[in-house]
Homo-oligomer: 227 residues x 2
Amino acid sequence: MNQEEYDVNKFERPSVTVDLVVFSIINDNLKILLIKRKEWPFKGKLALPGGFIKMDETLEEAAERELREETGLKNQYLEQLYTFGDVKRDPRTRVITISYLALINSENITLKAGTDAESVNWFDVKNIDNLAFDHNMIINYALERLRTKISYSNIVFGLLPELFTLTEVQKAYEIILDKELDKRNFRKKLNSLNIIEKTNLTRKDGLHRPATLYRLFNKEFELKIFK
Amino acid sequence: MNQEEYDVNKFERPSVTVDLVVFSIINDNLKILLIKRKEWPFKGKLALPGGFIKMDETLEEAAERELREETGLKNQYLEQLYTFGDVKRDPRTRVITISYLALINSENITLKAGTDAESVNWFDVKNIDNLAFDHNMIINYALERLRTKISYSNIVFGLLPELFTLTEVQKAYEIILDKELDKRNFRKKLNSLNIIEKTNLTRKDGLHRPATLYRLFNKEFELKIFK
DNA sequence: TGAATAGTGTCTTTCAGACAATATGCC
DNA sequence: GGCATATTGTCTGAAAGACACTATTCA
């Protein structure tokens, strides 16, 4: 067989989508971005934002596009999670979906529903049930990845603003891991990693001593082992 | 839109394949299974075993089928790695591939080339260059996953026979991590994990004291943290 | 009995985890 | 000066890492 003889239509082909698990911390809770579906199948049900891959974009570009369409954001932390391909996961036809994990700081973000969605909103991860497709499974997978990876990488800063206090970092860990951490041990560890630096700014936040603001040394994610 | 109006052919669809990175330890070297391609594109080049996904099989079933076709093995350690989808990665058409990592003990295995392969063989991972498609990248990804995951899981036993000596386990770590380990520390750690048990068999292996054979307590992979 | 690998224990260092008092800015 | 959060250090226990000698089988 050579190039001329090759027939691209010889095999039946599945459809391929990307689905996004977008996390953010809002009001001290871990939230996830969900849309309400406007069309069959699962019309009216909540689902992950996502959509079909275009023939001229890479998987990551597709994920970035979906994230931009829903949140207006680009250059956020974005990581491929897992590919789900059960035969009957979509009632329309065979659909294989590549899931992505995105972390954003949701301050000053305006959500806009995509074309296939009636609405987009933040939902508490503790309070999610019965989503469309196999999206509950995808969220569980994403949560596990987030909880594991936060312990050996610096991805937590994907959820924080550019300037942050040490208390905010600690709180992010506590929210995601769902357990309290010791303040002295936490700061000792964080300092030993040499990934953040003090600014000479502070955040005044009520009738008490203001907290020093810090920033990441280096915006590259995952360069430093957090372990 | 409802079920009747939905047109599965509305969107142009990519082809989807699975590709397998099959590792084994042979003669104290980490080896990988490669085929020689029989057809265009990349005719005559080495490539990972793999193939198109059938419409009625899951991704994992497709990976299991490919592994069985090349090695005759089933129920081996098999883990989804990553999905590669660059637009031009395959000259035929848009092809997205879901890569899988498989670990096998290659004793008493007979390799058989699949239909699209001229031959199948084991190749030393240190000695691999210029594969078809983006398969070098996939192998690098797989190697990194293997090296990372061996440190916090029990997947190493996927490379070993059912009965093994402690020296064999240590050697597997040394080969994969490409560094020497201290025998006493290694055994202390391995024992503390409570995942293997002594048998009353030994392996006589030359003119010296025979080694006790051990077996895994539990064949489930990844249940125990190796860390 | 010599060759070759199997098998075993102690000490040191490092890191995680428990734990509470002082510092600072604001009203 | 009182309130509220920020900031800081020591001790203990567990695990990692460095290190060398004895045991056993077979030719």
